[in-house]
């Protein structure tokens, strides 16, 4: 900053507000994480599939959040849904990361030919609306969440690739890559150590966070809409829980619909806030 005149009229976001945002984001992710942990260690209060309580029963000591219209424990279903979503969600991240890294590196460092090819591939992927591509895969794979999430991951590859490309561009501007190359540092090392880890780490992480938010959005939307595209009953998903409890507003049983709705919203908010915080960290560093 010192050295050349700059007129920055707007002060950048203060540190405290950024960390506040990230902290809120992490807090928002706590309920879902609790669910994943509880399900993984078998700490669910009840079997999420068993009809054990009273239909539309209210909260009680037995059932902390009450029961749905079939008498299944709501809390157990909420947590089990988080656990059920996690592995496919992680798969989406893996697919997006691997595809994005390969294409992004090929595009920005692969020379004319491979650069053009992978840039074309990325543009093709980007020109198809993400959700529609997911719908197509869902229609073929029926309600197999693994395939759906793999498709979500694939549609996010351009974002990851873009993060890598912009990192490479910045490093290029700093004549960093050329310098390293001339020093005989291997390409793999440049790519993985300097670009991916050293420079693009935060922005890739931020993109992965927004991918998770989007994946959750897609899964719950599909499960809510039904049509054998999302998660099918009786497997719990926050989306199909709301779908089954839709009557609530008309019959006065609001809880089974509202609680999953809150879960969806805060979890998506959590992912977005954490992603945003990471992105701001990155922008500030650059």
């Amino acid at each position: 900053m010192i050295g050349s005149l700059r007129w920055s009229r707007f002060p950048s976001v203060t540190k405290s507000s950024r960390y506040l945002g990230m902290a809120i984001g992490i807090i928002c992710l706590v309920p879902a994480t609790l669910g994943v942990v509880a399900a993984a260690f078998g700490w669910l209060p009840h079997d999420p599939l068993q009809f054990i309580g009273e239909s539309n029963g209210g909260p009680s000591l037995q059932h902390f959040l009450g029961c749905d219209s079939l008498g299944r424990d709501l809390l157990s279903r909420l947590w089990a849904a988080a656990a059920y979503f996690t592995p496919p969600g992680a798969l989406a991240m893996v697919v997006a990361l691997s595809l994005g890294v390969v294409l992004g590196v090929a595009e920005s460092l692969g020379g004319r030919f491979w650069g053009a090819i992978s840039s074309w591939c990325l543009q093709v992927m980007d020109s198809l609306p993400k959700f529609v591509l997911v719908l197509l895969v869902a229609a073929i794979a029926r309600s197999n969440l693994i395939w759906i999430m793999a498709a979500v991951g694939a549609t996010f590859a351009p974002q990851i690739a873009a993060a890598i490309r912009s990192s490479v561009e910045r490093l290029r501007a700093a004549a960093f890559i050329e310098a390293e190359k001339s020093l005989g540092v291997s390409m793999t090392r440049i790519v993985f150590f300097h670009i991916l880890w050293g420079h693009a780490r935060h922005v890739i992480l931020a993109q992965l966070m927004s991918l998770m938010a989007y994946a959750l959005l897609v899964e719950t939307s599909l499960s809510y809409l039904g049509g054998e595209l999302g998660v099918q009953e009786p497997t719990p998903s926050w989306g199909n829980m709301i779908a089954l409890a839709r009557d609530g507003v008309f019959t006065g049983n609001l809880l089974p619909a509202i609680i999953p709705a809150i879960m969806i919203s805060i979890t998506i908010l959590g992912f977005s806030l954490v992603g945003q915080g990471l992105l701001q960290l990155w922008e500030e560093r650059a």
Partner: protein
């Protein structure tokens, strides 16, 4: 510039001793021509990708791609001929049909009806909704971004902006659910209490009349993270644009600062909007499906649920075409606004 995905960042424009506007128009025309070619290439790729995804399906769904409108042969015969072709042949046959506006016939939604018949009216309804949603989203995002910068010290505004993030994290389908269930209940309750009359568009999802339509646009503009994304991106674009080094020179020369900020802001903002379209199209599908409104998104969802592949493919392709064209236009506008994007060689 931050990480802009979609912008094709460097264009070569010829420089001659012409006036600026002449140069600009000439340059933009040649750029448009080149972008059109690129767009066509990308669209061919997109259709290939869709076709291959469908071929990868374990079922016989892909045979539904056969041509359906020709009357000289029956549908079964056409399907058999189609199935007997090679993979490349099938693709070419299908693409040929698509280019001439023959997307085949619906297999489940309205069996026997040409897909193009279903898509055409749906497209315009959806396009209106999409454009309005994006516009509103951009407008609200710009407003929030500006406020977040100028009023960043005011705790009240910061809380308001935090709440904006919160509202934006709510998925579209939840908004629709709340609107349909809660809105109808509210209207019915008010009517029962004689506070107001039952409006013509009641109950909500029935017709895209103006009021429900406006609510739908609002949902599209806010939900699924749209508003949050816009606010954040616009904010960072604005900061970049306003904090750019040239602002020193601009201010020292008494050139209008807002105009320069706007010109620096526009290309980046447009590229963010065009990236957002892909997501908003997804929200549109959910919105229309949840409301049951006629439109491209509704068709796409119904087609996916009923496994009506010709309709789904047609909808996907149509959306891809629209998306690419809008992208192209935005890129041209961005290039016109910022001379730095017209790199001379």
């Amino acid at each position: 510039m931050s990480d802009s995905t979609l912008s094709i960042s460097s264009h070569t424009l010829p420089i001659g001793p012409r006036s600026d506007s002449g140069r600009l128009i000439l340059g933009l025309l040649s750029l448009a021509a080149r972008e059109l070619i690129a767009t066509i290439l990308v669209l061919i790729g997109a259709s290939l990708l869709l076709f291959l995804v469908l071929k990868a399906a374990p079922s016989e769904d892909h045979l539904q791609l056969r041509l359906g409108q020709s009357t000289s042969v029956t549908a079964e015969q056409a399907g058999e001929t189609f199935a007997s072709e090679t993979l490349a042949g099938q693709y070419v046959t299908w693409l040929e049909g698509v280019v001439t506006g023959d997307f085949g016939t619906s297999k489940a939604l309205q069996r026997g009806r040409p897909v193009a018949d279903l898509l055409k009216p749906a497209f315009f309804a959806s396009f209106k909704l999409l454009a309005a949603g994006l516009f509103l989203s951009a407008l609200l995002g710009l407003l929030a971004a500006t406020l977040s910068i100028f009023r960043s010290r005011n705790p009240l505004w910061r809380i308001t902006l935090g709440l904006t993030s919160l509202t934006s994290a709510i998925p579209v389908f939840l908004y629709v659910y709340a609107l349909v269930a809660g809105g109808n209940r509210l209207i019915a309750w008010g009517a029962a209490q004689q506070h107001w009359q039952i409006p013509g568009w009641f109950p909500l999802p029935m017709s895209p009349d103006f009021v429900p339509w406006f609510f739908a646009v609002l949902i599209l503009a806010v939900g699924d993270g749209s508003l949050m994304d816009m606010t954040q991106r616009f904010g960072s674009e604005l900061r970049h644009s306003a904090g750019d080094e040239h602002m020193v020179g601009v201010r020292m020369m008494n050139i209008s600062v807002p105009v320069v900020i706007a010109r620096g802001f526009l290309p980046g903002a447009l590229s963010h909007i065009s990236r957002r379209i892909s997501f908003v199209l997804g929200s549109l599908v959910v919105l229309e499906a949840a409301l049951g409104w006629p439109g491209l998104g509704y068709l796409a969802w119904r087609a996916a649920a009923e496994r009506d592949m010709p309709v789904l493919l047609g909808a996907a392709l149509l959306m891809a075409v629209a998306l690419r064209l809008v992208l192209m236009v935005f890129d041209l506008v961005g290039t016109a606004a910022d001379p730095r994007r017209r790199v001379t060689k």
